[in-house]
Symmetry: C2
Subunit: 231 residues, 2 copies
């Protein structure tokens, strides 16, 4: 069933607009924008009162500041269909998004760079709820090594590669200073990391088989500044 749903999307995504995010596979599937919207729906709906079962698309549209046609399109992509005068079944939306994005599996990650931001990410509660498990913390600052955050000991980056290899970890959260980001990214890839969630404000060069999500927090300033401009 999963396979059918996926192959349907390939056509869908192609016909709508050219994809922005390129996956490590040669053909592109869902765009970055669609993935983000699906995840927004998921996070929001999973926090609803469990007694609420039916949700209308205009209700969702208002919540996410998108068109309700867009909501229906997104849900159609993952195979969720509404019922006239009732709307969409919340549990079905959640299940399909979970299945579609692969959220059900255990996602083990290391955090590299445990400064203020790295520390905040380790302690971020929602990660665990979504299946992301922080398995190791690494830093190269001797004053930090040996300390602990959220029950995990901060280890030296010297042992990082063997730690990742032994535990077959595939995800790294990079929150280090810019000047070491590329060197660390290179080491992470060598150790077997296949996805880097990059919080360092720099662009990383990685081999084509590795996915990088750049979380440049400052990007938000542009949108805020723009919306405050007098017209």
């Amino acid at each position: 069933m999963k396979k059918t749903a996926r192959s349907r999307i390939i056509g869908k995504s192609r016909s709508v607009r050219p994809p922005i995010v390129r996956s490590r596979r040669t053909r592109c599937l869902l765009t970055h924008t669609v993935l983000e919207r699906l995840m927004h729906y998921y996070i929001c709906l999973s926090k609803y009162d469990p007694n609420i079962e039916w949700i209308s698309s205009p209700h969702l549209a208002v919540q996410f500041r998108v068109d309700d046609t867009q909501v229906r399109k997104d849900l159609a992509v993952i195979g969720v269909k509404g019922r006239p005068n009732a709307g969409f079944r919340r549990s079905q939306i959640l299940e399909r998004i979970r299945e579609f994005l692969g959220l059900g599996r255990s996602l083990k990650a290391v955090v590299v760079g445990v400064g203020r931001l790295g520390g905040a990410l380790v302690a971020y509660r929602d990660f665990r709820e979504l299946g992301l498990e922080i398995a190791g913390l690494f830093d190269n600052d001797p004053r930090k090594i040996g300390g602990s955050i959220a029950g995990l000991t901060i280890l030296s980056t010297d042992g990082m590669k063997s730690f990742i290899r032994q535990r077959k970890i595939r995800i790294a959260i990079l929150a280090c200073p810019v000047f070491v980001a590329q060197i660390l990214a290179h080491e992470l890839v060598e150790a077997g990391i296949r996805a880097i969630w990059n919080f360092s404000p720099t662009t990383l060069q990685v081999p084509s088989g590795v996915f990088v999500r750049n979380e440049h927090i400052s990007v938000g300033i542009g949108e805020i500044a723009y919306h405050l401009l007098p017209f």
Copy 2:
């Protein structure tokens, strides 16, 4: 000139695709996605060696993992034209993005909720470089009030409204726990805040004149999980 450039974009944006982000104005201008890409170009190019003046669109495309046609389209939207066999002038791109998004002005903000994440945001260096100035820190935890981060004293949320009104601050960075986010958002809007940068993992209800940018960090997990799925 600014006005001409803007009115040109309105048409451009309409013809390309329906906008996702709705501004506080009745008509929509640039989409959330275009704004984010422009900001990514800006942050990246401003960190280049100042001696590099000409940049090609394929070079930019590789940096940002987008199509080079997309890069040229984005730059055309802000009125930057390339020169054959030379590319685009870096200083012109930076100037136009700055002008277009309104980054030149002073953007004063308050940070509400100074936990791990709020603290990390206050200390985030890139904010100041982009013109965002943190003018005040607020928390309702008596153990935090009176403490300081990056030279700023943490104040009680009791005095938040008058602080914002007196200094005519228009931006609030919300990094508080979910259960107080809506109450605080309401107070912020009453005090005159016109843009909320929301880091609390919840959706806020605000009047139509207020812009909210939801920075749900967990959203990234979806994209990472998806790209790690075996195909």
